[in-house]
Symmetry: D2
Subunit: 283 residues, 4 copies
Amino acid sequence: MKTTILIHCPDQSGIISAVTAFIHRQGGNIVYLDQHVDKEADVFFMRLESDFEGNLPDIVNFNEEFNATLALPYQMQWSHHLDDVKPKMALFVSKYNHCLYDLLSRYKSGELLVEIPFIISNHNDLTYIAEQFEIPFYHIPVTKDTKNIAESEQLEYLNQYHVDFIVLARYMQIVSSKIINEYPNKIINIHHSFLPAFAGAKPYHAAFARGVKIIGATSHYVTEELDAGPIIEQDVTAVSHSHTIKDFIAKGRDLEKIVLSRAVQLHVKRKTMVYNNKTVIFS
Amino acid sequence: MKTTILIHCPDQSGIISAVTAFIHRQGGNIVYLDQHVDKEADVFFMRLESDFEGNLPDIVNFNEEFNATLALPYQMQWSHHLDDVKPKMALFVSKYNHCLYDLLSRYKSGELLVEIPFIISNHNDLTYIAEQFEIPFYHIPVTKDTKNIAESEQLEYLNQYHVDFIVLARYMQIVSSKIINEYPNKIINIHHSFLPAFAGAKPYHAAFARGVKIIGATSHYVTEELDAGPIIEQDVTAVSHSHTIKDFIAKGRDLEKIVLSRAVQLHVKRKTMVYNNKTVIFS
Amino acid sequence: MKTTILIHCPDQSGIISAVTAFIHRQGGNIVYLDQHVDKEADVFFMRLESDFEGNLPDIVNFNEEFNATLALPYQMQWSHHLDDVKPKMALFVSKYNHCLYDLLSRYKSGELLVEIPFIISNHNDLTYIAEQFEIPFYHIPVTKDTKNIAESEQLEYLNQYHVDFIVLARYMQIVSSKIINEYPNKIINIHHSFLPAFAGAKPYHAAFARGVKIIGATSHYVTEELDAGPIIEQDVTAVSHSHTIKDFIAKGRDLEKIVLSRAVQLHVKRKTMVYNNKTVIFS
Amino acid sequence: MKTTILIHCPDQSGIISAVTAFIHRQGGNIVYLDQHVDKEADVFFMRLESDFEGNLPDIVNFNEEFNATLALPYQMQWSHHLDDVKPKMALFVSKYNHCLYDLLSRYKSGELLVEIPFIISNHNDLTYIAEQFEIPFYHIPVTKDTKNIAESEQLEYLNQYHVDFIVLARYMQIVSSKIINEYPNKIINIHHSFLPAFAGAKPYHAAFARGVKIIGATSHYVTEELDAGPIIEQDVTAVSHSHTIKDFIAKGRDLEKIVLSRAVQLHVKRKTMVYNNKTVIFS
């Protein structure tokens, strides 16, 4: 039985020693430990993979004791995950297919260890992909007037299927606080620029107009401020004067799908922690 | 005798054919031709390296005939450069040494084919490098009140030495239109971010606060709007939560010096053309 | 009507002028010209996109005249392509799905302008993808003993469907000269290393054993010598001691699919020329 | 008082817990802990930065107790470094100046915290740089016949100045086991290719002949087998058919100097460990 523990707390002397001794006493072997101190904020972060080789003590007891012995005295925020439970991932899309295809082909081939209960879209264009991969597809149109109702409908599906996190795979709508508040740091977006440059609409057009020599893509957790949430992953590619906007868009598609998939994998493997609108990404 | 011709004009049918036939008639062999059409702006760009193998016709005649036969009918803006004339490059610095060291070591080893008549600085800190490389160093302090006088003094040196272009090698002052107007698209700056993100002061601090996963450097021609001139070259490097601002600055130094040197080389080799606040960079 | 002309010939004075004048006389406007001289081999390469705006002269006449006026006197090898004819691409696969998924999703979304008459595989594993995308799938098992017969069967399909080029999308078999000779510089392979490092089998294992800090993928035209054909495209990604072989393979998958797709696009857009076992890749 | 401890030993349960408790008992606070397990070789690696804030116990006692309590029972190989002691770095060069300039400018500006007692060269060409930076320069010519004597002379200087490690900054000679045995994993070389491709002489020529689309540079510890030692750092840059060998060499220079400097910094900051001819590079 393998588990992953994520911890953050005020930086103090002796934390690593205390936590590793605790795991040891509980019969666990630490398979991987990664730790970080944000010296500006004076915050300590740790990610621990432990192997209990069959002798995991009762998980409720373990957690209670961890709380009493460590979490309380060190003022920790922490979570404890069983590695063999697949999280439930909802996909939101609009008309672009490249990110959807990329995620679904990774899912289908067993590279991405999630369950995908459904795909939601404000358009019908990608129904054919849902059919190709035999995943339920809910078409929920969104207009200015129906947005509130549409989000209520989305929330119903999210609740009904006990969705753990949401991936906006080029979903061209702004998600409101109604949904964000239910999924804090659990909605992953892909933006087609190297943020903070070119936030908002039409970033490739803006990049072309500015004459940049590099374009990028950014995957981040969604917060209320548009394109301003904690960045999980970014990548870039070179462009030149010889590329048209159409070329930017084509090159960008490859960036977007790779960057989004990497971010989703990091989230699924519980390698991301959020603090002060930034991420700690464990390797 | 080798020469380089740079042309831009409204896009029209038959230009390449007309120009290449002209060179051919004048006894030149086209060694390299690079061409670009900006279809949005409907502008044609061309860069031609020709080899006249000793039989270059009188350059004044050549230019007059080119003007009459091609430049006028096609409404060209063009320039004609003899490849063996080294341009004169002035260096402006403040306190950071890495870009200065990098440029001077390339100059000293014959990699950068320019003359460097002098280094100007608003501080005395880098005098020792000027001495190491035996290049005149003029210390011209700049304060709010003395800026106008200081720039006049700078211009005197620039004029006296017939400087062709200026490189701001981490010169921490804003250059005013007084100098920019004398050197349009001839002042090369290095900015320590992937513009347009983090223009202005302290970009590494801003990048750190935003939690980006990639930092960059941008070399551009200086225009009146700060950090908004035509971009010549950009590059980036990955960073993570484990890097402090100090680490960003250290990693950035390597980017800055490489990106600035590349931009300077492109300018020296006449591979840059500017149009609509963007650059065409020939390969 | 747009066409693309590819030329290579011994380097001589006046070629560009002669060719561009010819196109001009035939009523064509040169939309894009890219040219290269290999000075070591003394060979001239050119790629010309021309737009005839409806008035393309009879193609047979055009080609005959081009032959007489240019190809013969300049000893050119050349080809002339109508841009709106989609080439026919056959896909060979084994068990890995990532390159196949990537190519088919680009095809399905109209990004990759080819026809795909069929997929051939020596295994049955990927039948489901062929079904998802409704493309004929021929299962032709290959063993040492049946290889010759299997390749004859493959050739029958290739001939029957008038296939223009073949993509080995992680086809784990060596293709013999029997097929290579029918498709010279028309079989595109993806090898999972930065060639020439780690040619042959199990490159990720070899890279791991050597302790490299960068892994790569290489797309190349297939020649008789294994993994030694002209390289079309390469890319790399950073790895570290913390990555296992399994991690190398996972990271490599993303490289492989992107690198192969780029190479296929370059081939389809007729931006590749082969000479002396190397490629000229036009931008 | 800050110190760095490097440990490797057979992987066992409870090591992290035992070591961190030990540091804690000795009055140290763990500032940074990085750990790695090579699961194939079943070896555990750890790097610990500790801060004793003035109360470092007697270092001899500390080390003896560490040996008795931890190193012996866990069969550790370990080392303990005081962070404020600058290591002594000898530079070996031949005729190329770019790596030398790069390292010396970092040294001079305080970016590289080492002492440089001398530069050794088999040629006189770079004397001027040694003079620029006021560092002793010993010219020791090397021919087939004098190699043994030359290396004896080199060793005398190395011993006399108590040199800690050697950097071959494009030193074009093969270093024999005579010196390697005295400096195991303490001689850093820069090779101008992405090893293992193009080991040995003239890698840029070989890369050009093969038609690769990416060239690289590799910094590694020197072992008896040429260009086959543990790799510390690698980087690459894109090239195309339009680049000549001379272009490869020019682009390569920038790679070489950056990659070598990074490797030297990693070594100086004690972030490298060697095992099974591979490196663990802590971040």
